[in-house]
Amino acid sequence: MSDQMTPTSSGAEPTAARSLVPMWILVLTLILLFLGAVYFDRHSGWFDKQVYPPYASATMLESYQPKSGAAAAAAQGKRVYEQICGTCHGVDGLGKPGQAPPLAGSEWVIAKSHNRLAHIPLAGISGPVSVGGKDWNLSMAAMGAALSDADLASVLTYIRSSWGNKAGEVTADDIKTIRAGLVRPQPMSLDQLMAVPE
């Protein structure tokens, strides 16, 4: 390309001019590094692997942890229910014929005292029992025996407050007491269940 054929471009290799060090750019770099360090201190959580934005530090993250209240327990109860109980009793609490009786409107669930109710998942139940006017004759294993006190309490609280049921909550301490007092951890019959005090 003829317009590039100046003597310099055709043969001689380029050289670099030496001159004074431009101090301003070094100063600018140092200022930016300093500002960056301040920003890092304020926002990075100092390499803590649990601190994600918008939390700026581990302290801030800790202060925003929700305290466990009724809402948290109910959500936990829903999760555990759907995982463990829902397959038979239905996610909608309506039960399945031949599989499990309904919990919605069940007199066993909404009874004022939760004592008898708590025994059912802890020990299991077997044999004829009447739920909501209908007769059921099935067998349930102790599905709640493997759950922690808190989880079983939250499930029972959940079923007692869902699908139109309006009954009081069950606490982890309640479950702990009941569990400790379980004499016969085998599926109960209707008579044995009725023998449990209210």
Binding site: E13, L20, I25, F40, S44, Y52
Partner: protein, 475 residues
């Protein structure tokens, strides 16, 4: 008409065949890549036409287009330019050119294997690393060979001094094997667990798409700008400073602000990006002082013009990169086309156009044949400039608009996509112009390759039919 400069001519000729293979294949992949990019863009305007064949979906076309541009064109073009610049600066011809020639062929086969792999569903799924193992192994091995040859030429150079371009290009030669092997081993070969894969992908992508191309592109620009301006590079210290700060701050970034990783990673990345303002300033000053006011400055659509345009595109692309990393602007532009605009400006507007300028200068000298269509060079240059301007402007503005809608929960998601359609149409036009420009580039290269092969064939034929010397005939 050939350039008559004897010792330099020997150096140029020594690079001839490796450069022809590297640049020839690069030109082919450039056209393939821009065609795939155009098709990918069309899927937004007529989505229903692309649903019957897996090869036609955006999820296959776009990664293939990106990788064809980066691995098919950018890296081999860069390697070829590195080979030539080392030979010229060190005043030492390239020895045993057969090895880089074989390596260049291996590289292009690797790209083919990789692209086909993406289409048949073997993509690794990681940005800029999509090539399956077979392809990436070929690429790694080929790069090692060519890099080794370049380093051997560098260390055995007759002219023992070092010019600023040397630092940039030698660093780039070492950078790619390191990042490529690390990424492939830790993500594809023996994958690390969970989100660490994403962090390494970002690290790799940034170091390749930003740092490697900046090193090679700036090394090339710092060679050609003083050469064409007829002035020494202004100045040595600015170049030294730009090199170290670019390497340090450029390589310590890449993690996006909202990433599902602990806060220190995106914060470190943003700070490093902010500090990039320093090398960008230094580079801009070098360009300004070296070129402005110099005698050879007139722009006539040739190599000098292209390298100047690429240089300005670098400064702009780096500024967009820095802007994206600021918390406020980044929150607006993340997950939008703005990022794509910046990447295309870096890869095509800066790197590819700089490579065009370099290749148009180097290849006639190496091969000894002039380009068949010199007027098309200027046409190609204007088409490429116009095309990349339209592409980047439409995607950048559209990306900001998309980001504003994404950040407003009152706006239904569908509306943010609908708002983009107009900008996407404009960007498709830009891609069409770029495809045309690339076709003109490839035309000149392919015709030169054919002319060379033809002259080679004529030489061989003439030798074969020439009468033997009497002394060679045995009685």
């Amino acid at each position: 008409m050939t350039v008559n400069e004897s010792p330099t001519n020997k150096i140029d000729v020594s690079c001839r065949v490796p450069l022809l293979v590297l640049f020839g294949g690069a030109a082919l992949w450039l056209v393939v890549g821009s065609l795939l990019a155009l098709l990918a863009s069309l899927t937004f305007h007529m989505p229903d036409k692309f649903g019957d064949c897996p090869w036609g979906t955006y999820g296959h076309l776009q990664p293939a287009a990106d990788d064809a541009l980066l691995y098919g064109f950018c890296i081999p073009a860069g390697l070829g330019v590195v080979l030539w610049i080392f030979a010229r600066l060190g005043q030492t011809p390239l020895r045993s050119a057969l090895v880089p020639v074989i390596a260049a062929h291996l590289w292009h086969v690797g790209v083919l294997v990789g692209l086909v792999g993406i289409f048949v569903g073997d993509s690794t799924g990681f940005a800029w690393l999509e090539f399956p193992r077979g392809g990436s192994a070929l690429l790694f091995f080929a790069y090692l060979l060519i890099g080794l040859w370049a380093l051997m030429n560098f260390s055995g150079r007759r002219d023992g001094g070092m010019f600023p371009s040397h630092w940039f290009l030698v660093a780039a030669l070492f950078l790619f094997p390191w990042i490529y092997s690390t990424a492939n081993i830790l993500i594809v070969g023996w994958p690390v667990r969970g989100v660490v894969q994403a962090v390494i992908t970002w690290w790799f992508g940034n170091n390749l798409v930003f740092v490697w191309t900046s090193l090679v592109g700036l090394g090339t620009a710092f060679y050609f700008l003083p050469k064409f301006s007829g002035r020494p590079l202004q100045t040595y210290f600015y170049a030294l400073f730009a090199f170290w700060t670019l390497l340090l701050f450029g390589s310590m970034r890449g993690v996006p602000a909202g990433a599902p990783v602990p806060a220190w990673l995106p914060v470190l990345s943003s700070l490093s990006s902010l500090l990039l303002i320093v090398p960008v300033l230094a580079v801009a000053i070098i360009g300004w002082k070296t070129v402005v006011g110099a005698a050879g400055e007139k722009c006539r659509g040739g190599s000098f013009c292209m390298i100047k345009f690429g240089f300005v595109a670098f400064v702009l692309s780096a500024l967009l990169l820095i802007a994206q990393s600021c918390p406020v602007i980044g929150r607006l532009t993340q997950f939008t086309w703005f990022g794509t605009a910046q990447t295309q400006l870096q890869l095509y507007g800066f790197f590819a156009i700089t490579m065009f300028g370099a290749i148009y200068h180097i290849l006639p000298r190496a091969v000894g044949i002039e380009f068949a269509f010199p007027k098309l060079i200027r046409v190609q240059h204007w088409l490429a400039m116009l095309g990349i301007f339209i592409l980047v402007a439409s995607l950048a503005v559209g990306g900001v608009e998309q980001g504003m809608k994404l950040n407003d929960p009152a706006v239904a998601f569908g509306d943010s996509t609908k708002a983009m359609l107009m900008f996407l149409r404009v960007s498709t036009t830009g891609l069409l112009l770029i495809l045309l420009a690339n076709l003109l580039f490839a035309l000149n290269i392919f015709v030169m390759i054919l002319a060379w092969k033809w002259s080679l064939a004529k030489t061989v034929f003439a030798f074969v039919i020439s009468p033997l010397n009497k002394t060679e005939v045995k009685a």
